[in-house]
Each structure stands twice: as C-alpha cells, then as structure tokens.
Point group: C2
Chain length 679, copies 2
C-alpha cells in the first residue's frame, strides 16, 4: 500500500500513467452474476472524497457499495479512481441491479408487444432491449438508479467507520451511510457524469441549430431526466400557446384604440366621437379579459393532456414511489410497513397533516403577514419622509427620502433569507416519506412567498390604490426591464465567465484522460434546480392572465422573451452547470397546481379591473347606478365566468382517450392478475 | 297443453291446489352443476307477465333464463308459478352464477384471513361462507345479481319471439331480451321478493322498538341494499351532527338577544343599553355564521370518513362497474372493448362529454332561466294587479289579485313536468355506459332544478330585496309548515291508506300459499326511489347552512324533524312499498357533492347576510364607511373563511388511516400480482 502523499496532489503526469485514455477496466469491482458480464463498464457517477481521506475508509465504503443487496450493500460496481487511496470513486451498475431498481421504481418499458408496461424483473425476458442497458434505460435513469441505491445504503448494526475517529465515525443501526459520510466530511460530492459525445449532439439539435421552434424533448428527457424534460416541454408548449393571445393583443392594440389607450392622455375630442371610442374601449377591454380567461383555461387543460401523454411515452405513468424505500431524511419508529410488509421507519399520516396544517401553514401565513407589514411600513415611511422633507427642506431630510426604501430592501432581503431557512426546516420537520412529496411541499412554501413578493405591489396598486394608469406603467416596466435584466444575469454573465475566466483550463482537457475529464466536471457550479426557471414562467403567466387587459402587448413581449429563453436555458443546463440527478416524475408536480390556481384567480382579477376601468365608472355615474349595485353585477359576472371556466375544464378531459384506455387496461389486468394469483 | 283460460282469472281455490304451502320444489329448473345442488331453492325475484301471455312465449323466456351463460342465457333457476301457462315466473340463482356475478361486480367478501378481499371465482375456496349463499351474499345482493343477469340477456341472432305476432316479436341480434319483452307488454313487472320473517325482525329493531337513537344499519344494507343503506346511515349521521348546532342555537337565543331578536320590534331603550345590545347582537350573528360554516365543513369531512368506512365494511370499495357489461340502455357501434377485449357497443367518451357540456348543460341553464323569468313575471304581475285594484277597486279587480299567483303555479307545474321529461331524455341521450353514471347525471339535473325551485324565493328575498325580516318570517314558516305537511303526506296518509283501504285484503293472506303472498307484494306501489328523501335533507341542510344565522332555532326544529323522519322513512320503506332493486354502490354519489357545494355556498351567503344585517349598516353609516369599501372588507372576509374551510378539509383526511392502508395494500398486491403473472 502506498501512502496517500505518493500519488495525491496536482501531478498530472502521474495520473495519466495510471488512467491512460480510459479508466483502467481491471480496477472495477468484480461482477458477481454471469448475466451482468459485459465488455465495457460505463462510468456513471463520480463520488468525490475529501483529499486526505483514509484508505481504510475508502476501502470500507467501496466494500459497502460492492456488497450485494442481501448483505445490505448497494450492489453496484465501483472503480477506485487512479488507485485505492485517491480521492475519487467512479460508480457503475451491473445489469441485475439496474433491472431490479427499474421494477422497484415502477418504471414502464416497452414490452415485446410494443406496449409500455410496468417492468417486472420476473418477466424481464419479454421486455425489449433488456440485454443492452444503454438502450433499455436512459442515461438519466441509470444515474438516478445509482443514487437511489446509494441512498438506500444503511448500516445493519452499530459500528465505527474504519479510518475515522471514534466520535465522528460512529454509525448507528439503520443509519444512512452516505448521509453520515457527507456529514463527517468524507464525501464532498456525488455527481452524475456527463456523456460528452451525447451532450454535444444534444446541444447541436437543441440550441446551436438553425431551427427556431421545436426542441428534441425525448432526447432531453433521456439525457437530463424527468423534471428537466417536463420543464422544457412545458416551456415549449407555453411558448406556442402564447401565439393566439399575442395576435389578439396586437389586434386589440391596432383596431380597438381603447384597449391600449384607455389611460393615455385624454385629447379634447368631439363628444360623439369620444363616446363611440369609449364603447370601443370597453369592448376591447372585455375582449381582452374574457379571452385571457378562456385562453388560460384551455391552455392548462391542453397542457394536462400533453403532460399525461408525455408521462406515458416516458414510462412514468405508474411510478411506485409509495411502495419503495422512504427518502433518506425520513424519520420514524421502526416497524413493519402494513402495505409492503418491509421493516422500515413508520410515521402516521395524520401527524404529518397536523404538522402541515397547524404549524407550517400558520408560519407561512405569518411570514406573508410580515411581508405585508413591511410594505405598509415602507409606504408610511415614504409619506412621512416626504412630509419631513417638505417641512424642513434641508439636505439631511433629502437624504431621509431614501431611508424608507433602503430599510425596506434590507428588511425584505433578511426576511426572505430567514424564510428560505424556515421553509426548509419546516418541510424537513413535516417528515415526508416520499421525495416527491417533500419537494412539492417545499416548493409550494417557497413559491407562495416568492409569488407574494412579486405580486404584492401590483395587487396593492390594483386593489388598494385602484390606480390603473400606475398599474399599467408598472406592468410594462416590469415586463421589459426585468426580462432584460433576467436574460442578462441568467445567460450573458455565466457565458462570459465560462468563456473568459475558465477558458485557460479548456485546452488542457483535449487530450486528457477520461478520469481527468470526469474530474473536471466538478469545477462547474452545481445545477441550482428548476425553481427559478419555473417561477419566472409563473410570474410571466401571472402578468399575462391577471393584468393583461391593462397592457395588451404583454403576450407579444412574453413570446419574444420565451423564444430566447428556450435557447438560453438549454445552453445553461448543457454547458454552465454540473449534470443534475433527476428522479423520474410523472408531471410538473406542484407547478401545475400553481398555474391552475393563477388561472382561477385571474377571473377575479380581470373582473375587478373591468370594474375599475374609468369608462365603466363614468357610465355608472351617468346612469346613476350605485357602487353597491355595480359591485353586485360584477360579482354575478365573476361567478358566471367561473362557471364557464369549470364547464370548459370539465369538457376537456385531463388525459387523451388513448391514455385513459391504457390506464384502464392496466387496472383491469391487475384486477385479473390479483384474482388468478391466489389459484 | 291447457289453454290460457283454464287456470287464469281470480280462482283462488284452483291456485291453492297447485301451489300448496310452498312453491312446488320439483318445478324449479334443473340444476346443471353438482356444486349448485341444495335442499331448498330460495325464491328471490318475481316476474309478472301479462295475463293472456302465450305459453310458447313463457316457455321460450324461461329457456333463455335457464340456459347457461355460454349459450347466451342468464344461467338462473326459474319456477313457472302454478303451471307453465300462469302469468308468473319466480326466479332464483344457482351457486355458481351467484359467485361468478360476485366477481364480475367486484364485490369484496371476507377472505379466510378475515380481510375484506375482492372476490375471485378461481379462489372461491379461500373465502368464508362460500358454501352457504344466504350467509355469503346479502339478500339485496342476491336479488340484484338476478336483475344483473336478466339485464345482460341478449339475443344472439335475429329471431321472432315465439307466441308473439311478427311485428311485435321481432328481436334483432344483441337486442336486450327483457327490455324487448317489457316494451312488447309481455313482462309487466320484475319485483324482488320480500322475505317476510327477516323484514319483521328488521322492523322490530328499526322503528317499532323503544330506542330513539341508533338504527340497525348493517341489517338495513343487507336487506335493502347499498343506496338505501347509505341513505339511512347519512340520515343517522346527520341527525347526530345536528346536536351541536342545536345547542349553539339555543344558547344564542337565550344569552345573546341580538341573535334572535335583531328584527323584532324596536322598543324604545336608553341609548347605552341599545348600543350594548347591538354589540351583543352582532357577536351573536357572527357566532352563528362562523359556527355554521365550520360545522358544515367538519360535518361533511367526517361523513366522508364514515362513508368510506361503511363502504369497506359493506365490501363495495372496489366495484368493477367499469369493467362489467354496459347498462341495458347503452347504445353504440359494436366493437371490441379495448380494455376487457369483450365485444360490446362502444361510444367514445369525448362525444358523451360534448353532449353533456354543449347540449345538456345549456338546456338545464335555459330551464333555470325560465324559472327565473316566471318568478320575475309573477312579481311584476302582482304589482300590476295591486295597482289595478287600487285604481279600480272593483270586485273584478279584487279577483285579479289572485291571477298572477295562479298563473305562476300553473306555469311552474307545467315547467317542472316538462323538465322532468327533458332531463330523463337528455340523460338517456348522453348515453352513459354505467348505471351509476346515468343515475348521477340524471339526479344532478333534477336536483339543480328542484333546488332552484326551493331556494329561488329565499335568495330573491335575501339578495335582491335585501329584506331580512321577511327572510326570517319566510324561513321559519317554511321550516315549520313544510315539515308538518311533509310528515303528514309522507307518512300519515300512506299509513291510513294501508290501514283502512287495504285492510280487508289482509286477513286472507294469513294462511295463503307462499306464491300468493309473493303475488300480493305486487299490489303495493313501486318504491319511488330516494330522490325525494335526499332532496328533503338537502333543502333542510340549505336552510341550516345558508340562512341559519337569521333564525337560530333552525337546527332545533330540524333535529326534532329528523328523529321522527328516521322512523317514518323506515316504516314507509318496510311496509308501504314494494322492495326495490338496489345496485351495490360505494357512496352517496352525487348527493355528497351536492351537500359539499351547499356547504361551500353557505360561506358566501353567510358573509352576505352578515353584511346586510341592519346593525352593521348602521355602524357603517355612523363611521362614514362607503358601501364600496365595506363590500371589499366582506369579500376579503369571505375569501379568508373559504381559505379556512379549505385548510380544514385538507386537515381531515377523506378516509380513515386504516382504510387508506387497506387500499394501498390492495394496490400493492395487484402490482405484485401483475409482475408475477407474466412469469
């Protein structure tokens, strides 16, 4: 055994000697079962250990990774990097482990008759491509399965991890090994490895090609995994869906002067002409409002259909997350799962719901209240400062004018940092069994807060100040300025960094060993997740559906933005970040709900804006209708519109007929199977 | 062969000779398979043919009933009554047919390990009681299975029914035989037979006992079937649930004078005292409104839990109606069902939904509009008549005063008769594949109309006239008068009829043959269904949740009403009507939705009533708050209350944990079975 110092360090030449052009094939774990033998082992995941890791620790960890499931191991293939005391472990998975996990995750794969069928290990021979894992599973699935197996790696009895001091290396029975090693600082990162050739091809057909529309969605899903696939599919669908409102927006702008110009300076016109224009203005308004409501409903319904078709094609229609192992962070008293009969931690559902309803929800509401208080404080402070400045008129009081907004910015920032931490802690404390449920609850918490932050000002202007010209001004500046800023910070800055700051490292890689290439991926920042991408879309959608009738060009601007957004996001995820792990998911999850809620709220907001429009106010004054009665009419109209919306949503089934048929076939078959099984 | 005239007619003596004390055991169809042999055949269903039925027709029909499923028959046991040209057929079912149908319907039965498990014919030996059909299936299930088998009796090729003229007896391939015979006037009635002994026992523990609370729900479900069981369970649950609001109502009445006396004559009081009382009044109001909202939410959530527990106990948690034969009235082009691979008529789902959304819904809305127009017309006519009477003051104009309300009554009656027909036709035209879906769509149509009719006046008073004292007067008179009238017409009149008009026939029955007893059941009117019972409860619930804060004693009156209602309904269904066929159902169906919608609407109506209350109006006037702003506050409060309601609904899971566990177990098992089946 060599001492760590011998090979460690930046000795590039030494490395090349060992790694050559590819990873040394002999250094992989021995394959146990004959069916898993193959000519070439595909490196899938890289585990980066800290530099001065003790060889005993590394050897022990590799032995856990290699051990069979029966012995409590992950049953994966490990490659110790350049040698056994290097700080890298490369992982792959034998065929059997991949197939077993495919069944456990509940993935559907093409059966010999061509139908997508939930994979069954017993019947593996009847599925297509089961002799070629690269064709059978997508890269994202293979990599996720490795993470899944690593996550289920638990200690079987109390022990001390070799090579670690007693106080940090103590592992209790059933404790998660990877989590422990990460906490102890032994594991720095677990990173899925980019497949450079596939990535280059993907990039060519995605963002560097000449076509403006269309994305290689299946290839994206295969390479990056479910949630990324769904995001880009949604972005695609949404961009297409913006075409009709953009056309209507332009039409209203051009032919119904009122739609766009209701709040422009009122030129002195002859009375008759003005009246006619007022009628036109109102109708333009109505057209916008009703159209945007109907559009948002149909859009969401059609997306649901598209989404379920996608989830069928991607084989994630019948995910069995509920029946799989609980997520690593899940706590509970050890017991027998009444459903699967496996021994695992249990936590009663009602306690989780109590925690969500009685603690998390009030805390979230409290924070939203704090945001509101901050806003109220800011407005009061501003009036106060203005008054002071008027009274005193000195330089000091002039500086005072800036104080409220500065205080508000500081307050908001502190609040959102604090909220981010609280939301994570709360969601962890809620103790969700499934990863997807954890993600959904966490996302919806952050989402509510962000949404509130984005829209509070607009709502304040629309509903409290009831100042439509200001709303219009604010909306257009938000649309134009924030989009420009977003595109810059999101895209141009990272590109510049990538191009000029990292460039010197680049040429070296050309003829580097595979291991060095793999290692180089760690130099990229980790993928920040899709939250900011989705929230951007949601806020857009909010501008569009909530307030669009105020500024008819909104959809046109959004359409332009999205066409560049697609390329930008694609470039970003391919080039500027590490490859993320993506669990197979069956839909957009909580984001779909968020969009639906927004499209529901849009009915109310549009009715309200209609009510506020100055022409209608004038009309009421002229006709002598009291504020109370016009309000009643507005509420009536609102309810009728909501009814129409619900009818529309009912009329468009959530899934295409052929998917429903497939689903029912599966249900029927499993009913039959259940009856026959007992024979 | 004797000619029909020989035995037909009212010759009671002749009948006794043949039928003796029980049905002649030898006349039953021969049992084909050895496992179905039993000492005694239980008569379950009576088919009444028209008097001069041709013996050939009867013989042919019996042969279809007896023929095995393979030969396109119903595989049931038939008894030709006194002889083969009598006008009665009595049906029973052999064990095999019952068991097969149990599997087809997807009923759950206790497995050998005690768990309720979807019955599987292959594995019948592992289920409890499969050697004793009386213990294995309830009476209602056995009888429903016979109806189910009769309904699936179809012609296999074009033929002419023997004994019928060519023009009426023509039967096309796949035409439903029973429907055809009913249309041709051969079958007059298909009636399930009462089991007198069981019925007497049931009656004793249900309505003639001394206990005021509690009903033998399981026995009711076993004897009458699912929907009746659910109705009485709901009635029971609802009556218990009325206790808390009744207590609160009494408390508000006693201790918060304002709650009840807000609209009583305003006595001249010292200003301070009045102000204090106003505060109390407002708080009494608030207490009622908020309490009734919270109560209705919790009530519905708890009922959902109870309902799912009941459906588990009654073995109807996994009904397989979707995979069974379509209902008799279902039309479609013949094809292979993609799910079950059976040949049957197919009709695409989207066309049904188009029909519902684009035709049925607008028609329903149109009719509701006509009701509204009628009401508007009535009010206008009334004012007009009053004016005329004032102007003329003659006897003729005095008579004119009654004209509008008479016209309105005629109009409403015509409209509702017409609507009843249109609703049935529309629902038939919508072409639902499953009986339950047909029922739900039909019920919801009729329901909307009835509800509108019941509540239009109250809503008109509350929202348009905004006249709370009138609302209060109307509500209390409705509660007291209609309940008394209802109880009378529902119960006392039929009881009198039963007691005095039918009494002379009674003594004869004592030592009659079993067949005559069976035949006597036909003299009872057919069971009119549960619609009127449910709508009564729904209207009650509406009075309570929508307007209760106007009249705090509502729950007390309802509680009293329901305690007698339970006994009355029980007596009615046991004694005054024929036994109905009840399909196994998993819940109250559309009624549950109706109650939930009502409890949702109640939030809005309570907020509105709060807003209308004169004290709040005075308060606003004093403080100088504009109508617009107070309205905004009301809308805000409403939205917060709806949010609270949704949180409550989320916090109380729809099914108890143990049911969820059972359901997941089944899902998991069928997933596993599906995997293993392909081995």
């Amino acid at each position: 055994m060599t001492t760590p110092g011998d090979v460690d360090g930046d000795d590039g030449v030494g490395r090349k000697k060992v790694g050559a052009a590819v990873l040394d094939p002999g250094a992989w774990s021995k394959v146990r079962c004959p069916c898993c033998l193959s000519d070439r082992v595909e490196p899938l995941v890289l585990i980066q250990l800290r530099e001065e890791v003790h060889p005993d620790t590394k050897r022990w960890f590799i032995s856990r990774i290699e051990a069979s499931n029966k012995d409590g191991g992950a049953q994966l293939l490990a490659h110790p990097g350049e040698d056994e005391d290097g700080e890298v472990i490369v992982l792959s998975a034998p065929r059997c482990s991949l197939l077993r996990a495919t069944e456990e995750l509940g993935l559907c794969k093409p059966y010999s008759d061509g139908e997508m069928t939930a994979f069954s290990y017993h019947d593996r021979k009847s599925f297509k491509n089961t002799d070629d894992m690269q064709a059978f599973l997508t890269l994202a699935e293979r990599q996720y399965i490795i993470k899944y197996e690593l996550d289920s790696l638990r200690a079987r009895k109390d022990l001390i991890i070799p090579g670690l001091p007693d106080d940090r290396g103590q592992l209790r029975s059933r404790q998660n090994i990877c989590q422990k090693l990460q906490k102890a600082g032994v594991i720095l990162d677990i990173v899925p490895i980019h497949h450079q050739q596939t990535l280059d091809q993907l990039g060519k057909s995605w963002y560097s090609g000449t076509q403006v529309w269309g994305q290689p969605l299946d290839a994206i899903q295969a390479y990056f995994g479910g949630s990324v696939g769904f995001y880009f599919s949604f972005l695609d669908f949404y961009t297409w869906a913006l075409v009709p409102p953009a056309l209507v927006g332009v039409a209203v702008m051009l032919f119904l002067p009122g739609g766009g110009a209701t709040y422009s300076a009122k030129s002195p016109q002859p009375a008759a002409e003005e009246e006619e224009e007022a009628g036109l203005a109102m109708s333009g308004y109505m057209v916008q409002a009703v159209f945007s409501m109907v559009w948002s409903t149909i859009f969401m319904e059609l997306w649901k259909r598209r989404s379920s078709a996608l989830s069928h094609c991607w084989g994630v229609l019948s995910l069995a997350e509920r029946f799989a192992e609980p997520r690593p962070g899940f706590q509970g008293t050890l017991g027998v799962n009444p459903v699967t009969k496996r021994v695992e931690p249990l936590f009663p559902e009602w306690r989780r719901q109590m925690r969500v309803g009685l603690v998390s929800l009030p805390v979230v509401v409290l924070f939203l209240g704090l945001v509101l208080m901050g806003m109220a404080g800011f407005y009061q402070g501003e009036t106060l400062a203005k008054q002071l400045h008027q009274d005193w008129g000195s330089l000091l009081s002039g500086a005072l004018l800036y104080l409220p907004s500065m205080l508000h910015i500081v307050y908001t920032n502190m609040l959102s940092t604090l909220y981010g931490r609280v939301a994570l802690k709360l969601t962890e404390w809620e103790n969700h069994r499934e990863e997807s449920s954890f993600q959904n609850h966490h996302t919806s918490k952050v989402l509510m807060f962000s949404f509130f932050n984005y829209f509070a000002v607009l709502f304040h202007i629309a509903f409290y100040k009831q100042d439509l010209p200001l709303l219009r001004k604010r909306l257009s500046s938000l649309l134009i300025v924030t989009q420009l800023v977003n595109q810059c910070t999101e895209l141009v800055v990272p590109w510049l960094v990538d191009r000029f700051l990292r460039a010197p490292q680049r040429p070296q890689l050309e003829d580097d060993s595979e291991e060095d290439k793999i290692r180089a991926q760690r130099s990229l920042p980790p993928f920040p997740g899709l939250f900011s991408e989705y929230i951007e879309l949601l806020v857009q959608f909010g501008y569009l559906s909530l307030f669009s009738c105020v500024y008819p060009l909104t959809p046109v601007l959004l359409l332009l933005n999205n066409v560049t957004e697609i390329r930008g996001d694609a470039y970003k995820i391919c080039k500027l970040f590490r490859k993320p792990f993506c669990a197979p998911v069956a839909s957009m999850g909580v984001w779909q709900t968020a969009f639906e809620i927004l499209s529901f709220v849009s009915v109310m907001s549009n009715c309200w804006l209609l009510l506020l429009s100055p022409r209608i106010r004038e009309f009421c004054l002229e006709e002598g209708i009291s504020g109370r009665n016009i309000m009643l009419v507005a509420i009536l109209v609102e309810h009728i519109l909501i009814l129409i919306k619900m009818v529309l949503a009912f009329m468009i089934p959530d899934e295409p007929d052929w998917i429903r048929e497939k689903r029912e076939q599966i249900e029927f078959r499993s009913l039959q199977a259940l009856g026959q099984q007992k024979l």
